[in-house]
């Protein structure tokens, strides 16, 4: 199973990014093998729709669970459509801390906030 963490740089010491669609990178961790990969977020410079594009990127890397900060309504809808579960990164500062917290079962799954979508 693969999880992703929004990250400013590479590796477990990197700070987490507090944005999803415009996160610098995604750290993708295969929990079965503990292989760690950093993927540059190609969506971050999009004029609009960065959230949706970033979800597409995670889907391409077969991410099952995305650990994220606040999600916009479009990113939320796209996550659902790609059947990627979303988990809140809470206030943890580094990628390593987020990973440890996730493994210890401290992070909660985000349930869809009804009524936030526009139009």
């Amino acid at each position: 199973m693969k999880i992703s963490i929004c990250s400013k740089n590479k590796g477990l010491d990197s700070l987490v990014d507090e944005r999803f669609g415009r996160s610098e990178n995604f750290t993708i961790i295969d929990l079965d093998t503990m292989a760690i990969e950093t993927v540059e977020n190609i969506a971050k410079n999009q004029a609009s729709g960065a959230g949706g594009e970033a979800v597409k990127l995670l889907a391409k890397y077969n991410v099952d669970i995305a650990i994220v900060p606040h999600l916009g309504p479009k990113a939320e809808t796209a996550m659902e459509a790609f059947e990627i579960k979303t988990v809140s990164q809470e206030d943890y500062k580094s990628v390593g801390e987020v990973l440890d917290a996730y493994k210890a079962g401290k992070l909660k799954e985000i349930t869809k906030k009804k009524g936030l979508t526009r139009l």
């Binding site: 609009s48 949706g52 597409k56 809808t77 796209a78 459509a81 790609f82």
Partner: protein
Amino acid sequence: MRIAVLSGKGGTGKTTITSNFAVNIKNSISIDSDVEEPNLHIFMDMKDPTSEPVYTLYPTINKDLCTLCGKCGDFCNYNAIIPAKNQVVIFNESCHDCGGCKLVCPTGAITYEKREVGKIFKGTTKYNTELYYGLLNIGEMSGVKIINQLKKYSELNEETVFIDSPPGTSCATVAAVEDVDYAIIVSEPTPFGVSDMKMVVEMLREMEIPFGLIINKAGLGDDEIYDYCKDEDIEILGEVLFDKKIAELYAGGKIFSDSLPQYKNFFSDIYKNIRKKRRSL
């Protein structure tokens, strides 16, 4: 001749200047393309306008034909259409209605539906001139569709069309000034007015549209605007003074040259000057 009036900064007097031209230049029509906050029709006192809706198209998917190949999603520049696991997600409001997704779809699964993005109002003003303005629906992201439709009306008039443009230098402003014969920048002599005007100058030069400047509220602020115009060789077409009388008329929704006749020639002289320049180009 189509003349756009723009400013960069909001509140410098675009609509004030446009309305004064519109009432002093015979046989002219005016268009308010600031579709997020139109108010030229208030100055011009437009009676009983008629309205027509403006639509934009967005894709819908025939699930029986769609193979989730992903081509539409790869093509879309705005991530308005995203093929996912067992469905295609469409964000209607992100769609720019380019028609590309239908062209690249190999199975013909995409068709389009229309959505109203706003309205165009047309009518006659108290001054017996024609006026058109657009109004963007709440929550819509782009007024470009409405502006382009509005500008079709400017092709009906062979004399003079004044186009009151939106502030800023984004897509809406570009759409408003595209293909005009001349642009009048209205700026105020403050650091803010000059800073935003510089972006407009850069945009107009890029678009190769000839332009000149009217300084509104002259006497306010500092001299930076004069130095800037000298350095950049920008023609100052005229100056409207920072005058309490003008401010009072504005606050009452009046067109100031109606009450201050010394300004009537001011606007017709600037217009003649622009016409002469156009002929010599």
